[in-house]
């Protein structure tokens, strides 16, 4: 059973954490703190995938959406000298990319994989053509010191002092889970993703819902891009999303198209990366930096190879909906 595997994972994680915490508490908590930082953009990007695919639209353009949003967020923030306004521009850009995907996938009924690749290539082209050096944002988004939780032992330093997008992102993921499984919007969305003609018969407008969800998902992708540029590092480089949008798709599949599952999978990815980084800093093991860089990509392939065949995507995914003519 899947449940047992996850139990083993949690128990071994707690055991390992206790061991490391007893050796060096500061390092152990800082590894967990970094794990959350690594995990958040992946988790948010995976939500883009969940929102699109649950309504039956494959979104392989998450990478490009994040890249171009990070670009506009950064340069708007730098030009307006206001990080928050930069973030809003980033979110808006993401929504526009979502709208573009919806246009290609829903209206033009294009092959959705190719539509997504076009978004990626367009984003790479635009960002590299308009990229300029010597711009900087006034400051990254200020981290928030959580009032009560921040004083807790062990958990305090792990959970507190993240940026605003991190906290918003976590609440958004929980909210998305609730909305997807407990509200009529969620039920309709899932119905459109599984069996659009039944949803249509029941009076749900398939194309309108797909438009809405794909555009909203784009805005979330824009938030993930803004996080990278404005909260995590405070810079923009050509192609600096570095495949996170694709890793996010693996995380979505690993999390079985469920927001909470994807969040857990993203935390697992983040933790692996944080631990490897720490091992490299401590020079415990001598690993060439190139192999450290490879880790998330190899992990993505391994995770997909394991979970493929065991998980089932939404049934109507990738298929343009044609209303039956009577």
């Amino acid at each position: 059973m899947k449940l047992r595997t996850s139990h083993y994972l949690i128990i071994s994680f707690l055991a390992a954490f206790t061991y490391f915490y007893s050796k060096d508490g500061l390092v152990a908590t800082s590894v967990l703190y970094t794990a959350i930082q690594f995990a958040l953009p992946l988790a948010l990007a995976a939500m883009v995938g969940v929102m699109c695919e649950r309504t039956g639209v494959v979104n392989i353009g998450i990478e490009g959406t994040m890249l171009i949003s990070a670009f506009t967020a950064f340069f708007a923030g730098a030009i307006l000298k206001n990080t928050v306004q930069g973030m809003l521009v980033g979110v808006f850009t993401g929504a526009m990319m979502g709208l573009l995907l919806a246009l290609m996938a829903v209206n033009w009924k294009m092959d959705q994989i190719i539509a997504g690749v076009i978004i990626n290539i367009l984003a790479a082209g635009i960002t590299s053509f308009y990229y300029r050096q010597n711009y900087s944002i006034p400051s990254t988004l200020d981290p928030i010191d959580l009032p009560v939780i921040g004083a807790w032992p062990i958990l305090g330093p792990v959970l507190s002092f993240h940026g605003p997008i991190t906290y918003f992102g976590i609440f958004f993921i929980l909210g998305l889970w609730f909305a997807l499984y407990k509200t009529s919007w969620g039920l309709r969305s899932r119905a459109v993703g599984e069996h659009p003609s039944s949803a249509d018969t029941a009076g749900v407008s398939v194309s309108r819902l797909r438009y809405l969800n794909v555009t909203a998902a784009g805005a979330v992708g824009g938030l993930a891009g803004s996080y990278l540029a404005l909260e995590a590092v405070g810079i923009f480089e050509r192609g600096f999303t570095a495949g996170k949008g694709f890793t996010a798709l693996a995380i979505m599949i690993f999390g079985r198209w469920n927001p909470l599952g994807a969040l857990a999978a993203a935390l697992f990815f983040g933790l692996t990366q944080a631990v490897t980084n720490q091992l490299m800093i401590d020079e415990v093991v001598e690993i060439p930096p190139q192999f450290i860089n490879m880790l998330p990509y190899i992990l993505t392939i391994v995770v997909l190879a394991i979970s493929a065949g065991k998980v089932r995507p939404p049934a109507a995914e990738g298929i343009p909906y044609e209303k039956e003519k009577s």
């Binding site: 076009i118 082209g125 053509f129 490879m294 392939i301 065949g309 990738g318 343009p320």
Partner: protein, 354 residues
């Protein structure tokens, strides 16, 4: 579609790409204009440098050579309903392997050494594709994600290899030693030999797709997996085969670049060739012969991008933007609709589930 058309000739396979190039160029022209530069003079420099003289054409064709091959690597897979975004990684793997074969074997005659190095390139290109092919055929993992992840893995791995075991001794740069003279691909009639090789491979693949059962299996699986399965075609084998052909061709693209242009392997020197292959393949309508003119056009733009910056001051990244726009317009059915009432959009790839 065939029945409706009757005897009328169908020009849209040529007209749609041409028109999308024109629309993309006008869009790009607006963007150049906004930067305060006359777009017409920018384009004049771009195209006269690329196609205006014999030397220019020779450089263009040399640039087009790896693009024809990487375009083929994407096109053959598209025919089988697979989207091979991994041409970049396969190409780098082939480039590094052929460089290794080029500098390691000493004392071979050129007639042995060049083919050997090319075979090394093809083999290691196919090896990278094999990972994605096996995962797709036997585990159902979507090839788009695996090939992209493999791109990053191969780039990191080649960087490691060229900075450690394969590094040129006593040199600060991360690069392999120079290949032996016997592995250098010569020019023919002032044009690179690799260009003729690429044309030869295009024609061979076109012939295979048209006239052999292998080609027929690939086409059938690409159109309808279930139909192919009912007809007794092994879907798994066909997926493996087309991915391996794609990987091998991409590997040869890298090998040709190493053996005739660069002369060694340097990590950053092959950047983008595989990704341009996607644009080449879609612009050439996934036709093994169609990729040739597409690659020559894109090769010409790539070759003269830096001259354009030098003479009119437009950043060479404009070419990236133009290619993205071309790709957008050539795949968007918007333009095709002007020509005919083509309703069906042939889905060239498939969702996760297949």
């Amino acid at each position: 579609m065939d029945a409706k058309q009757g005897k009328k000739l169908d020009f849209s396979p040529i007209l749609v790409p041409l028109l999308s190039i024109l629309v993309a160029l006008s869009f790009g022209g607006i963007l150049i204009f906004i930067q305060g530069i006359n777009p017409l003079s920018a384009y004049r420099v771009l195209f006269t440098t690329a196609f205006g003289s014999f030397d220019g054409i020779a450089i263009t064709l040399a640039k087009a050579t790896p693009l024809i091959l990487s375009g083929l690597a994407v096109a053959i897979c598209l025919r089988a309903g697979l989207f091979n975004i991994g041409a970049q990684g396969q190409l780098i793997s082939g480039a590094l392997a052929s460089a290794w074969a080029g500098y390691t074997f000493v004392g071979l005659p050129a007639l042995v050494h060049i083919p050997l190095a090319l075979i090394f390139g093809a083999f290691f290109g196919a090896l990278v594709a094999l990972v994605a092919a096996v995962l797709k055929a036997y585990r159902g993992v979507h090839e788009v994600i695996t090939t992209i992840m493999l791109n990053s893995i191969v780039i990191a791995l080649s960087d490691y290899l060229t900075s450690n075991p394969f590094k040129e001794p006593d040199q600060p740069l991360t690069r392999t030693p120079k290949i032996q003279e016997s592995a250098r691909m010569p020019d023919l009639l002032g044009l690179p030999l690799g260009f003729f090789l690429a044309i030869g491979i295009s024609i061979t693949l076109w012939w295979i797709m048209r006239n052999t059962t292998t080609g027929f299996s690939i086409e059938t699986i690409g159109r309808n997996k279930n139909a192919g399965w009912y007809a007794g075609i092994s879907v798994k084998k066909t997926i493996m085969l087309s991915m391996l052909i794609g990987g091998a061709v991409a590997g040869v693209a890298g090998a040709v670049e190493t053996l005739s242009i660069i002369g060694r392997f340097e990590p950053a020197f092959n950047a983008g060739l595989g990704f341009d292959g996607i644009t080449v393949a879609l612009l050439g309508r996934a036709n093994p012969l169609g990729v040739i003119p597409a690659a020559i056009l894109i090769g010409g733009m790539r070759a003269s991008g830096s001259t354009m910056q030098f003479e009119v001051g437009v950043a060479p990244e404009l070419v990236d933007l133009l290619l993205a726009l071309i790709l957008f317009f050539v795949t968007a059915p918007l333009l095709a609709k002007f020509f005919k009432n083509r309703k069906e959009n042939v889905a060239m790839t498939s969702g996760w589930s297949n």
